[in-house]
């Protein structure tokens, strides 16, 4: 700018020494003023042009690259299910069912240094924000996320390879999203997550139109518990990072208050998990052990043996104390077909042991393959479940039934 200022001064000085200019002609100052303004205007235009152009060979510009990279990307998916359930008579008689699963919209990007990531999902029976957070990446690569983000607990990002997930998800301990702030960083092989969640993602424990399971307040249920003020910490160490054969060992802890809106008292909740996540060559092995405890302050006479969870427009009870193990194995095949990009086959097993006297265990075993071809991604899962929610009369609390049920689930999605 300095040279511009000099140029303006030069022009004005020149005007001052033009022969013939005298005191009488000061009356023409209006004209001079207009010219001065014009000079400044031209200077501004020149500056704009210089800013827009690359300033000579001293600087190397990435104009072409910058011009074509959008800051925010809109994506999404449209998915359908083909199902056969052996525990539903109509499904048996009709030789299966098919229908719309989900339509989702994603927004991911960065605006003025702030990262945004959001996903909204439309199901036939509900629609909800799956996640939506704003983030900032520090110079050391660490990241802070604020908003509805994934709770850092146990195996990440998912505790299963298949589309139906395993027991931890149905207890709210996998792919869970809550409203809060999370900080994550990596230091060589170490990774650390620290998070605080004020409450579940919708700040409305009575709203069951949600993606992930949380304690819920449900009509005709006397519990009225909601999970608030939750702290999470997750530490993991990665052996063999970048070697093509790596193993992550990690531990997670979660503590929270369990506010009861009927009694206006708060109980508490804690959970802990240890996991091993190995990806070696084309194999993947995942192991996880988790334990949790809910100590509610229910109204007088209301059992504290179970906690009501809700999501997907429904609710069910789970045992208030239980242990869960997860054992998953997967193999990524080298596709012999040019049009098939990915064939990953797996067997995911998870098992819940309850603390309530006489309560039956709950188990789920899923064998299947995930097949990717361009924008189309398909899961072919055979789910075999014993005493699981959504399978016959299965229950994640006491009672239920000691019967195995199966569900063949083909989920075909188009992702963009």
């Amino acid at each position: 700018m300095k040279h511009n200022g000099n140029r303006v001064a030069l022009a004005l000085a020149a005007l001052a020494v033009v022969p013939g200019l005298s005191a009488q002609e000061v009356a023409q100052s209006t004209e001079l003023e207009q010219l001065r303004e014009r000079v400044i205007e031209l200077e501004a235009q020149t500056d704009d042009m210089l800013q827009a152009a690359v300033a000579g060979s001293e600087r190397v510009a990435d104009q072409a690259v910058a011009a074509h990279e959008p800051d925010v990307r809109i994506g999404g998916a449209l998915r359908y299910n083909f199902i056969h359930r052996d525990f539903v008579n109509a499904s048996e008689s009709k030789y299966g069912e098919s229908g719309f699963d989900v339509f989702r919209l994603n927004v991911d990007g960065e605006v003025d240094g702030i990262i945004i990531s959001a996903e909204y999902r439309f199901y036939s029976y509900m629609h909800t924000l799956k996640h939506g957070w704003l983030g900032y990446e520090f110079e050391d690569g660490s990241l802070v996320q604020f908003g509805v983000n994934q709770v850092p607990f146990g195996l990440l990002p998912y505790a299963a390879h298949n589309a139906w997930f395993g027991v931890p998800y149905y207890l709210g301990f996998a792919d869970d999203y809550d409203m809060g702030i999370k900080y994550q960083r990596e230091d060589g092989p170490w990774s650390l997550h620290l998070a605080f969640y004020k409450n579940e993602e919708l700040n409305d424990p009575g709203n069951l139109n949600r993606y992930s399971f949380d304690p819920a307040v449900v009509p005709d249920d006397d519990q009225y518990n909601e999970q608030v003020n939750q702290f999470n910490a997750r530490v993991a160490y990665n052996f063999g990072r970048g070697s093509g054969c790596e193993t992550e060992l990690g531990g997670s802890a979660q503590v929270a208050q369990l506010y009861n809106s009927a009694t206006d008292r708060s109980g508490d909740h804690w959970a802990a998990a240890a996991h091993v996540d190995t990806r070696c060559g084309r194999w993947s092995f995942q192991l996880q052990g988790l334990t949790y405890d809910y100590t509610p302050r229910n109204p007088e006479g209301v059992s504290e043996d179970t906690i009501t969870l809700g999501a997907f427009a429904g609710a069910y009870a789970i045992d208030s104390q239980a242990d869960v193990i997860v054992a998953n194995v997967a193999y990524n095949f080298d596709s012999p077909w040019e049009r098939i990009d990915q064939i990953t086959c797996y067997n995911d097993y998870s098992h819940m042991t309850k603390s309530t006297e006489g309560a039956l265990d709950s188990r789920i075993n899923t064998t299947g393959c995930a097949i990717g071809s361009g924008a189309i991604f398909t899961y072919v899962d055979h789910i075999y479940a014993n005493n699981m929610a959504y399978f016959g009369n299965g229950s994640l609390a006491g009672g239920g039934e000691d019967r195995w049920h199966s569900r063949l689930n083909v989920n075909i999605g188009f992702y963009w």
């Binding site: 140029r7 303006v8 030069l10 022009a11 020149a14 005007l15 033009v18 013939g20 200019l21 001079l32 010219l35 014009r38 000079v39 031209l42 200077e43 020149t46 042009m49 210089l50 152009a53 690359v54 300033a55 000579g56 060979s57 600087r59 190397v60 510009a61 990435d62 104009q63 072409a64 690259v65 998916a77 990002p157 998912y158 390879h161 589309a163 792919d175 970048g242 070697s243 093509g244 990806r279 060559g281 084309r282 194999w283 993947s284 997967a330 193999y331 990524n332 080298d334 596709s335 040019e338 990009d341 990915q342 990953t344 797996y346 995930a370 990717g372 361009g374 991604f377 999605g413 992702y415």
Partner: protein, 363 residues
Amino acid sequence: MQNLMKKLLLTALACTAAGGAWAQEQLNVVSWDGAYVRSQILGFIRPYEDQTGVRVNVIQYSGGIDEIRRQVRAWNVQWDVVDLELFDAIRACNEGLLEEIDAEQLPPAPDGTPATEDFLSAGLMRCGVGNVVGSTVVTYNTEMLERTPESIKDFFDVSKFPGRRGLRRSPQGNLEWALVADGVPRERVYEVLDTDEGLDRAFAVLTRLKPYVEWWRTGEDAIRLLETGEVSMSAVYSGRVPDAVERGEPLEILWDHQVWFFDVWALPKNGRNTERALDFLHHATSTESLARQANLIPYGPSRRSSLPLVNESMRAQLPTAEANMRSAIELDAHWWSENLDRIERRFERWLERPVQVPRRMPR
């Protein structure tokens, strides 16, 4: 009359004061990055600016002809001169995206040898004029390897030479190396690649290495991967290595089966600056300009007359030096110009294929 005179004088002064920057002629020259573009800037771009008063804006890119196609077809050409890899120049020329250049009009060598005789044969084409002979070589970080790699096969042997590898995110050069590592003699590389089985074979070799590969797009990225220790060995443009070594980086070139290629200057069609661009091209491809560049970065000048003007020490580091050429592969620009579209599509799709169980699958 006096008033009119004053008005004219004032207007002239105002325009002079404000318009200095407007009057300067500009030229947009598109090239690569790092030590390479620096050698061009110091070797002949800055001298050209000094001689002509033209401001040369240097714009960075990393290959391909998509942007040229877009500009030319829209008649909105902002790139006046582009430094293209030869196979890209052939493709762009065949598509009619480049101005044809009359080699007879190029400046002769100082001894009067016509340009048509002075340039190396592949350095002159219908739409481009040779710039340098560049090369892609394997370079390794001496502090990260316990033993010294001796052949291109060692690059593909992660059990004998543990550590991650860096490769350019493009099929050119990588497929050739994969076949050589699999036992194909360099003379037969393109003959094998020309068959579906040969192509599958090359991709199969790359698939085995894929879990260990970091893919780079620019020459600077490749050097950075080595400098930061993210990879122990990487494909790099050979000329970038001495610059990094001067900065104290423990890097060493493995010349075995270097893949050498031509870069050419070309002018996109429908430009508004074509005459000036042609003038710049004549300057940039003169004997002296090419020699000055080769004295700043060890790439072979595409004119024979430039070579005697290159320092002895620099000549030994050129890809075209006899010791470095023993097992060299010439990148077949014509083959790639015909096959790049087809193979690049397959390559990009292959890149997306996981070779491990993905940590995250679509849900």
